[in-house]
């Protein structure tokens, strides 16, 4: 948009983004009793790693993401990002939800710019950075559109741009493509893979789509429900970008589906 973009100052320090979870337990109080949702979760995530979490509904996978995001602060155990304990939301952890959660009264541009309010940049820097991220997710030309004027996929692109603009060390994705049609979902998975390769920030994605988990994840974590526990960790071991129908992905898919179905059996 502008002829000469001002130099963009870095927001967060370029520290790695290593997540360490040890002995995490989470309960919800239901009718005066403590209902366990997550039990003994241990997880070490390397900087720049892509973790996909799959599991049947009710296995607490969304709760796990909300805990890492700091949206829920009542838990037992240890959670640290680069050695710092997680006590609440922070700009070094971004999050994308299944519903885009854009503010309907703000344009795409203003929705994304809102994420920078906390850093108190001047207008020119905000505009430059927002435009850069609008281009990053391929939404040029829709800067001034309101969310209701966007398709589901476009709205989710805007939500991803909003989450990335603060340059989080860790991006949490809670079934981000779950509400999209099959074709858009495949396209968005490719886009996310491209962004991840480009940004190299750590990403943790919760999904119920095993194929999606295998296509994107360096490791796929299978959760078991009631209470949520880690049942299995699968090293995918293929370089990115991946071939969607690689033989290894196919066989892993059978394996994971088998595990998920055997859970449902009992």
């Amino acid at each position: 948009m502008t002829a000469i973009a001002p130099p963009i100052p870095p927001l967060a320090l370029d520290t790695p983004g290593a997540l360490s979870i040890r002995g995490l337990n989470k309960h919800y109080p239901i009718d005066g009793r403590r209902l366990p949702v997550l039990q003994h979760i241990d997880l070490q995530v390397q900087p720049g790693e892509f973790i996909a979490i799959v599991g049947a509904s009710g296995c607490g996978k969304s709760t796990l993401l909300r805990l890492i995001a700091g949206l829920e602060t009542d838990y037992e155990g240890q959670m640290q990002l680069d050695g710092k304990p997680i006590r609440g939301p922070s700009l070094d952890r971004g999050m994308v939800f299944q519903d885009h959660r854009l503010f309907p009264w703000k344009t795409v541009f203003d929705n994304i710019a809102l994420a920078l309010k906390h850093s108190r940049l001047d207008k020119a820097h905000v505009a430059a950075r927002v435009n850069e991220h609008i281009a990053l997710v391929g939404l040029q030309g829709f800067e001034h559109a309101y969310p209701h004027q966007l398709s589901g996929g476009m709205a989710q692109r805007a939500a991803i741009a909003r989450a990335l603009i603060t340059q989080p060390k860790l991006l949490l994705l809670d079934e981000p493509f779950g509400a999209l049609d099959a074709l858009t979902r495949v396209r968005m998975q490719q886009e996310l893979q491209r962004l991840w390769i480009q940004q190299r920030s750590t990403m943790i994605m919760v999904t119920h789509d095993v194929e999606e988990a295998l296509y994107l994840g360096d490791r796929v974590i299978v959760l078991e429900p009631r209470p949520g526990r880690i049942r299995h960790v699968i090293e995918v071991g293929l370089a990115h970008p991946r071939e969607r129908n690689a033989a290894r992905l196919q066989s892993l898919r059978q394996e994971i589906l088998g595990q998920l179905l055997s859970q449902a059996g009992h």
Binding site: S90, R93, D99, K117
Partner: protein, 253 residues
């Protein structure tokens, strides 16, 4: 129906024109005494006379300033109280039942008591208007704030939004549709009840113009007052609708 209306922007003029025609025909037919059913041309004549003499301006200024003052106080207080009731369980617990009880009392039912307390001058009129505006605005503010989805606040906390942005860029726009409806209803009620207070007591104002003219059997002037009240109410509401449309242009149709 809506389509036809949109396609022909002047269609709405038809019904007032028909009413005017019927009125003119009936009044000029000689079937009714002219003092009671004044023909439209006589009403128009009286209107211009009032306008030229400056008397109409005095009535209008008196009525509209009472409305502005009373509605302003009522709306601001209503928004503050409604928000407090939405956010605080204590305020709701202590004041909720009283609020919902007083809300049921029609503003005009308070007129006799208020006259005793505050006399028949401006204070009483402004206070009645304040009351009329306060309750719908407070109710709308309370419901508007309560209905803000928690998801919005989660997003705000994820991005560590400063309090000022949280209030002006998230909470206020989220509550705005409900709040604006409440303000529009409050304004309309305030206008109606103001005319009622002016009819009962006072020396100036559109309501008083009607009452004094009635006592002098000047039905032409009564009709000028009645028509103006309707027209002003219509303009206030229409103006508010335009404001709502402009402020809520982000909403899907």
């Amino acid at each position: 129906m809506r389509r036809a209306f949109n396609g022909q922007p002047l269609l709405w003029l038809l019904s007032p024109a028909a009413l005017l025609l019927a009125w003119a025909l009936a009044a000029n037919s000689g079937a009714f005494p002219v003092q009671l059913l004044v023909p439209p041309q006589a009403v128009y004549h009286s209107f211009t006379e009032l306008l030229v003499s400056g008397e109409l301006r005095e009535h209008l200024v008196a009525s509209l300033s009472r409305l502005g003052l009373g509605f302003g106080i009522g709306a601001v207080a209503g928004m503050a109280f409604g928000t407090a009731m939405a956010l605080s369980r204590n305020v709701e617990a202590f004041c909720g039942p009283l609020f919902h009880c007083v809300r049921q009392i029609p503003s005009i039912a308070l007129i006799p008591m208020f006259i005793l307390f505050f006399g028949v001058d401006d204070v009483f009129k402004v206070l009645i208007v304040t009351k009329a505006a306060f309750f719908p605005v407070a109710l709308a503010a309370c419901e508007g704030v309560r209905a803000i989805p928690r998801a919005y606040f989660e997003v705000a906390s994820l991005y560590r939004l400063p309090l000022r942005s949280l209030l002006t860029e998230v909470a206020l726009p989220a509550a705005a549709p409900t709040l604006l409806t409440g303000l529009r209803i409050g304004l309309s009620r305030a206008w109606m009840v103001l005319v009622a207070t002016e009819l009962l007591a006072g020396d100036i104002g559109l309501g008083q113009l009607i009452e004094m003219s009635r006592q002098m059997l000047r039905i032409d002037l009564v009709m000028v007052g009645v028509l103006l009240i309707g027209l002003i109410g219509f303009c206030l509401e229409g103006g508010f609708h335009l404001l709502e449309k402009r402020l809520l242009r982000w909403k899907p149709l």
